[in-house]
């Protein structure tokens, strides 16, 4: 259909000597290999990862907190045996924390060390060239991911926390896989990193950012997948308890709660029940352990009233 392979095109643009091999042959392979790492994906997730790899495009992963967005990047890095480079975003993140910074202390030392040998114009030029070279550069995650020679997975976590203006920092990397440093020129990627961005959707990301990424929405899993996740992640749990937990959690999510339980919290709950040595969820346990899944008092009260009180279903 398209005569030019996007990976090939990018490799030529970056001037790579050889085309890095694709990591996955098909979406199905993504699924099995993530499964081996105890990350249970579904069709949509597997497709997104496969296409990200095949088209050499970043993936923007969005969804409620605790549904396995960050874990996805970790699992992928794990599955393809790459190093994970992580940039945790926060409000006030800037260039010097995300991209690179000049190690000015070292630069000062270098200048002072060079002083006694006469101050001709020539030596100043040398010095200037010298202090703006690689050895005085502190690489931050983004530059590190770009300049790495071994295969890496870059994870930009919670990208919705940075200000709209800071998002622009990411754009060059996301579309061109390169970083421009005024004093040094452009640094191009030496391999094609897989890039994941996660967002909890607290604000709308800019169109420019979204346009450069593939988009994957990870919602809450359905009962059977959640059960499988519990079985994979919680050692020593019985299948029936896992099933029951998954069902209770689904019912909890249908209630109008302030904070619906996430997969991470479901797992915590499952672990708690296993430690307590329970084979099934009884009413009494609910009151005692519900605070593991629900984080607001009003939610706990509501859930207890709706699900775990004797008269709930008689009305």
């Amino acid at each position: 259909m398209s005569s030019l392979d996007p990976r090939q095109e990018l490799a030529t643009r970056l001037g790579l000597a050889s085309l890095p091999p694709v990591n996955f042959a098909s979406a199905a392979e993504v699924r099995t290999r993530l499964g081996e790492r105890d990350y249970l994906s579904d069709d949509a997730i597997a497709s997104a990862v496969f296409l990200a790899d095949r088209l050499a495009k970043p993936v923007l992963v969005e969804g409620p907190a605790g549904t396995g967005k960050t874990a996805l990047a970790q699992a992928v890095a794990n599955a393809i045996g790459s190093r994970l480079v992580r940039l945790q975003c926060y409000e006030g993140l800037d260039e010097s924390k995300a991209l690179y910074e000049w190690n000015y202390r070292k630069q000062l030392l270098r200048i002072q060390a060079g002083r006694p040998e006469g101050e001709s114009a020539q030596s100043w030029n040398d010095l200037e060239e010298d202090i703006f070279s690689d050895q005085f550069l502190l690489t931050r995650p983004l530059l590190e991911a770009i300049s790495a020679t071994d295969p890496v997975v870059l994870l930009v976590d919670e990208v919705d926390r940075v200000e709209l203006e800071t998002e622009a920092l990411l754009l060059e990397i996301l579309s061109e896989y390169q970083v421009s440093i005024p004093e040094l020129g452009t640094i191009r990627a030496k391999q094609i990193p897989l890039v994941f961005l996660t967002s909890n959707n607290t604000r709308e990301l800019s169109e420019a950012l979204k346009r450069r990424c593939l988009y994957l929405y990870i919602g809450y899993p359905d009962v059977s997948r959640e059960r499988d996740i519990i079985l994979a992640r919680v050692p020593g749990i019985s299948a029936s308890l896992a099933e029951q937990i998954a069902e209770v959690v689904r019912s909890l999510r249908t209630l109008d709660l302030k904070k619906a339980p996430s997969v991470a919290e479901t797992l915590d709950w499952a672990r708690t029940l296993v430690i307590l040595g329970r084979e099934e969820i009884a009413m009494e346990d609910a009151a005692g352990t519900l605070h593991v899944v629900l984080k607001y008092q009003s939610d706990i009260e509501r859930a207890t009233r709706e699900l775990f009180s004797r008269s709930a279903n008689l009305a």
Binding site: M1, Y215, L307
Partner: protein, 470 residues
């Protein structure tokens, strides 16, 4: 394939999804590397490249079903023969309801069909479920070829005939539920399964319609607006529920955005004292200007909302949104009326979730004084009598309503007086501009005294307006 893709992208754009050229190219690239025979994979590839917002996925799915309906694809259905055997086993000597022949399934009796669906749901058997849904549609929908409808009518007919309540009871009874908790779990489970059936039925109906009327025509009639573009006044129950869900993240986002904007505007006027003191270190030259911290003028908001039948949901959404960002205002007071007026501010006090307070308003507010038909004149008069002295130059008054006064007196002079006292008076009207002043709408009598009368039909418009208040 590329032309199908182009048409599909066109349809998505028509439905309001912002699909850019780059995304279109990406989608084409993605189709080049996947297995085009696998419908699921095609769907995922297109979703990943074309949709950039989780809320837009339902709209995408509808469009996808229409454009890439099974019949449109020249791919044989997977193991149709096997399914047929299974069906034959299940339903005696009937032929399976295969895709092409609409008539085949009608020989399945009602009980057989019901038991087939029951088994499909119980065992979570996807392919059996698809067959069952098709059979049900063939049997009950009563298609009338060429009728330009979107399928809701057929859906309703099919679902009614299927007696889903009974099916649900059967499913619940199937699981043994000794105590209350497991009973509740069983019924939630049954409901989720029924939901699956509904979705399959809807899909089967769409397939039928595509065959009947072609892709383009159908796409137009099933096109659903995005949640934020739904006309609040004419939303049906499902849409209202959807709006309700969309509102919470919307108000949260709005609050974050406004708070951020406020924080970023950190410069107030020049602080002379501080600047002069700093200038001492530079020989009295004020190189380094110092600024006073900003004192944001937080407006006071008074909302007066008509909560009579037709505009009630709109009023609810507005109250919800205004209170969700109440930290951005120095004070928010809310009043609701039909023909009597009641203050509901206290309902929002100490409640974390405005939705709860809004629910209480419906139940408790005392808004009917006379006959329960909107009377703007009387309500405004009563507001003026009791609360006019609280309206000051710092107050922004929002009046919500369609201005349909049931031929009562307008008392526009009240609004005029409010306009003199307050900083702004805005009127939000949930009706489209073209309906204003038709019938008993007297919006024009109030309009001259309001700073602006704003048409506010959708959540998007509402959000833009409320965001602009700060």
């Amino acid at each position: 394939m590329l032309s199908v893709l182009a048409a599909f992208v066109g349809e998505l754009r028509a439905a309001g999804l912002p699909v850019s050229m780059t995304e279109h190219l990406d989608a084409a690239g993605a189709l080049g590397v996947i297995d085009l025979g696998d419908r699921r994979e095609v769907r995922d590839a297109l979703a990943v490249t074309l949709v950039k917002n989780g809320d837009h996925l339902p709209v995408f799915d509808t469009a996808f079903d229409v454009f890439f309906s099974i019949r449109g694809f020249d791919v044989p259905l997977p193991d149709k023969a096997a399914d047929r055997d299974e069906l034959d086993g299940a339903a005696g000597d009937t032929t399976g309801p295969s895709v092409g022949d609409g008539g085949g399934a009608s020989s399945l009796s009602a009980e057989e069909l019901a038991s087939l669906l029951f088994r499909a749901l119980r065992d979570s058997d996807q392919s059996l479920l698809v067959r069952g849904a098709r059979a049900a549609v063939n049997r009950y929908a009563g298609f009338e070829p060429g009728r330009p409808v979107g399928g809701t009518y057929y859906l309703y007919r099919t679902l009614r005939s299927l007696q889903l309540d009974r099916l649900e009871e059967l499913l619940v009874a199937e699981r043994d539920a000794p105590d209350d908790l497991s009973h509740r779990l069983a019924s939630d489970d049954a409901r989720a399964r029924i939901e699956l059936l509904k979705r399959e039925v809807e899909r089967a109906i769409r397939e039928h319609l595509v065959e009947d009327r072609g892709t383009a025509a159908l796409a137009k009639s099933v096109r659903k607006p995005l949640p934020e573009d739904v006309d609040v006044m004419h939303a049906n129950r499902d849409e209202l529920a959807q709006l309700e869900r969309a509102l919470r993240p919307l108000s949260r986002k709005l609050a974050t955005r406004l708070a951020r904007r406020r924080r970023r505007r950190r410069r107030g006027p020049v602080d002379l004292r501080h600047t002069v003191r700093r200038s001492l270190s530079t020989g009295g030259v004020p190189l380094d200007l110092r600024f006073k911290p900003p004192r944001p003028a937080k407006p006071e908001i008074i909302v007066i909302a008509d909560v009579s039948g037709s505009v009630a949901s709109f009023a609810r959404f507005t109250l919800h949104l205004v209170h969700a960002i109440s930290t951005q205002f120095s004070k928010v007071r809310s009043f609701v009326f039909v023909d009597g007026l009641d203050e509901v501010t206290e309902y929002f006090d100490g409640v974390d979730d405005p939705a709860q307070a809004v629910a209480r308003i419906n139940a408790e507010a005392d808004v009917v004084a006379f006959d329960g038909h909107s009377d703007y004149g009387r309500a405004l008069l009563s507001f003026h009598e009791r609360f006019a002295r609280d309206v000051s130059r710092r107050t922004t008054v929002l009046i919500l309503g369609d201005g349909r006064n049931n031929y009562h007196q307008a008392h526009a002079e009240v609004v005029a007086d409010l306009g003199r006292r307050a900083r702004h008076v805005f009127w939000l009207n949930p009706e489209p501009v073209s309906y204003w002043n038709s019938g008993d709408s007297i919006i024009d009598q109030y309009a001259p005294y309001c700073e602006r009368v704003v048409e506010c039909r959708t959540l998007r418009q509402l959000e833009a307006f409320v965001g602009g208040l700060v």
